[in-house]
Amino acid sequence: MSVTDLLWVEKYRPRTLDEIIDREEVVSRLKSFIKIGNVPNMLFVGPPGTGKTTAALALVNDLYQGSSSGRFLELNASDERGINTIREVVKDFARSRPSTGVPFKILILDESDNMTQDAQQALRRIMERYASVTRFILLANYQWGIIEPIQSRCAVFRFPPLSPTHIREGLIRVLKKEGASWSEEALEEIIKASRGDMRKAINIAQSASGGSKRLTKESILQVVGVLHPREIREMINEALKGDFASARKRLAKLLFDDGLSANDILREMNTELLSVDMDERKRLQVVNALGEANFRVSMGADAEIQISTVLAALATDFQK
């Protein structure tokens, strides 16, 4: 038995394109590829929990009519051995042409905007060299995280945050199948906290359901804070208060103990920095520092050093 049926998000993940109810346009384009039996290289762009992986897996399933094993592979692009692993895998693909049916295999590269620019250049060459035997589906949070030459070789599909209606539908579908009960208030809280992220919505629902499988507003509010770590906001507040040392300690914890990616921390900081209370002139300075940090990290600089400068900017009184 696998662990997947213990987690609702995976247990109820749509397996075919037909089961995907909230991405009509994407689904119809993907279906037309299947009809002609060929797919281009693709780039799926959107924030977490918007169905990128689901769409990619469903496409693979429909394309190979269920017998997809050996014909596709999922890899995490941000592995530091990533680019070499990818090269090896693709080489193996090239060596063993699929005998029947579709004449190519599919490689799904998750988190590809976490790759450094250099790795992406290497990826681009691999994509060109093995174009005849492999199609790539790149999944990314940001389109600009992917270098231009790769973007231009891909059909780009956008996955914006899901609408409250779609989140609601998705949630109810899962809750019914689980035989859980819920109050309308509870549902509203989940939708609000999920910010268009279906994975988050379902995760919140599962952690709040407990043994009784009953969702109340209270049980939702209890888990939201835990699942959506407040630590980044706390780090920002510490820095704002001038306590740089504590903020830096917290940064080290997030990066190393929790092992969060620099991208995730930077994205979360970006969101928080827009809403947190501070002088507008200072906000410009801080956001500028964040931009520099973001850029340098993408060029391979050290995340802890770079993000520390943002914390220092937060701790600075720019009026004097």
């Binding site: 995490n76 080290a252 520092a289 600075t316």
Partner: protein
Amino acid sequence: MSGSKLSWVEKYKPKTLDEIVGNDAAKKDFLDWLQKWDERGKAALLHGPPGVGKTILVEVAASTLGYRLIETNASDTRREDYLENVIKPAAFNRSLFSSRLMIFFDEVDGISREDSGALNFILELIESSRVPIVMAANDPWSQNLYRIRDRVYMIQMHRVRAQSMVKRLRDICRNEGVKCKQEVLMLIAERSEGDMRAAIEDLELLYSSHEEAGLEEAERILSYRNVEQNIFETLRMVTFASNLEKASTSLSSAEERPEDMLEWVFENIPHVSPRQSLYQSLRYVAEADALFKQISKNSVWRILPCFYHKLASAFLVIPQKSRVSFSFPNRMRERFKRFQHEKNLRELESFFTKELHVGRSAFRRDFIPLLRVLSKNEDFRSSLLNRLVDQRLKELYSSLILGEARKRFS
């Protein structure tokens, strides 16, 4: 009691090959070479960082195979009479000695390039010797060895892994009857950077005076002992330098590698720079970091001075400097611990990311907190653990997700 004054390094000097920690491949390689040696076999060069066991390997291998060792070091080779009267006869095994001989030149990279006499002597010896010649060097790529390099059989020895070291250190502790905590041994091993000898020296320093030193105490004591005074002096000079040239020169002429210097500056800038200038200071550090990555990636070392200028600027923008005490970079100290932790996380998540079709960062961001919450439920916890068939996975899950007794270093 009389014999107990031996230093631990001496006392626990390996007597058999098995007792030499690490470098199994190199040990085997060297022994093979020696066993197959004949007069055409010429010479071997063992190279690797200090303290990894080059000298001891030669000594133990010699005694294991029944060779009598004639040892020389860099200062001996300067004495021409010694070379002529001791080494030469030995190389041709002229009756002076009865047993089988082996000649060992330790620290050959320490022979200065100007001392062409000694180098020529060794070169000639390599060609004509009738007994095995073995050399050891830290840096085999040093300029003065280039003629020797392609005439010898090179064997590389690596830094000893911290885990292997810990095992040896623990044995010593047991033998000495001292109680030493695992994390202290880890600290010692980590700080030694693969130098077994330095690690044993540190261990003795710590426990000859402190019966049961804890982690904090160990850090305090070892930071005074191990870290070269040099670097603190450098930081002080840079902090109070009056202009860019002075500050930059102090940084670039220190013995630290540039990337380590970056660590020292990053650690200490917040101590030196008050809140008002901290952002400016750290920006320079961040620029230096980004620049260094480019320099080393593209091998444009000629712009390394710019790197030092940026680091120096981090100090120069500070309006008022107060006297401070500098500290050892936390990131350097924790390098190994972080590495281990990251390795464990990856091992655990390589299972989950495949099962759940999520990327690594998504797993850490969204699923670790989820699994923590859900695992508070007894039923969920036990059914999840049941599905982790692998014992190792179960352990990792328990320590990383459930936060049970951390077994990071076992």
